[in-house]
């Protein structure tokens, strides 16, 4: 079993034993892909939102690829750091990744990013980005601007 699998199995055990209000974790059998459903305590976000996590063999030394995934009653939330294709501009997922983060800690960060938001808007460059973006958000070079939202 790879290092990534071992670590993700431990994470799965942890999230089953600890309370994460408003967050539900659905790992796949391989453990290398998880879906995470978020409920947000903010009137801007009345729906359930689904995050898709993909971990490579280098996880947790390498960051996971994380984005919102649209589905039945699972819209992509409106947020100045969330593109309409589901990609998220968040330093934690790129330059500021460290291996002490986990599926759970990233989920909590994104949940609180939505919880604190006051403007239901797309990023200013959404139309252009969503048209040309690579499929894997990790291949995008985000500029992390405006930490106030």
């Amino acid at each position: 079993m790879s290092i990534a699998n071992k670590r993700l199995l431990k994470e799965w055990k942890t999230v089953q034993n600890e309370a994460y209000p408003g967050i539900e974790f659905f790992p796949t059998d391989s453990m290398l892909e998880w879906n995470v459903d978020l409920v947000i305590d903010n009137p801007l976000y009345p729906d359930v939102y689904r995050l898709g996590f993909k971990m490579g063999k280098g996880y947790p030394l390498e960051s996971p690829s994380v984005q919102f995934v649209a589905g039945d009653e699972r819209p992509i939330p409106m947020h100045p750091h969330v593109y309409s294709n589901g990609h998220i501009c968040l330093d934690l997922l790129g330059d500021n990744w460290t291996p002490v983060h986990s599926v759970a800690s990233v989920s909590v960060s994104i949940q609180s990013m939505l919880c604190q938001n006051k403007v239901a808007e797309r990023p200013p460059d959404d139309a252009q980005y969503s048209k040309n973006a690579p499929r894997d958000p990790k291949k995008s070079l985000f500029e992390y601007h405006d930490d106030s939202v």
Partner: protein
């Protein structure tokens, strides 16, 4: 009653004595008294390092992290430059002799064999 001991078994346990009382390596989430995911035998074969920032890791785990580009040589916990306590900066450049010396000094200081 007089007892003559003919034979006895000594049993001892050990654990790493760390300045902070966290017990899992933040990188692999395995207990410090266990091994990093690449090792089989705990103890001196899979030593720990203590950072100047007082964050601890399995040495093999933190070395792998420091080799990555994203690490920029920083501690995964606090993002300060990772330096071993009382030692040099732990980097891919001095992984060989100097680090082995440092680690053995470090392990003398932190090993606490209990009987």
């Amino acid at each position: 009653m007089k007892v003559t001991i003919k034979q006895w078994h000594q049993v001892s346990t050990w654990h790493w004595k760390l300045p902070a009382d966290d017990d899992l390596c933040g990188i692999c989430r395995v207990s410090f008294d266990g091994t990093c995911p690449s090792c089989k035998y705990p103890g001196d074969d899979c030593p720990l390092v203590i950072g100047d920032c007082n964050h601890n890791f399995h040495m093999h785990c933190v070395l792998k992290w420091l080799e990555t580009e994203t690490s920029k040589g920083t501690c995964p916990m606090c993002r300060q430059v990772f330096r071993m306590k009382g030692g040099d900066v732990l980097s891919a450049d001095n992984t060989n002799q100097s680090e082995i010396n440092n680690v053995s000094q470090g392990s003398d200081a932190v090993m606490d064999a209990l009987d």
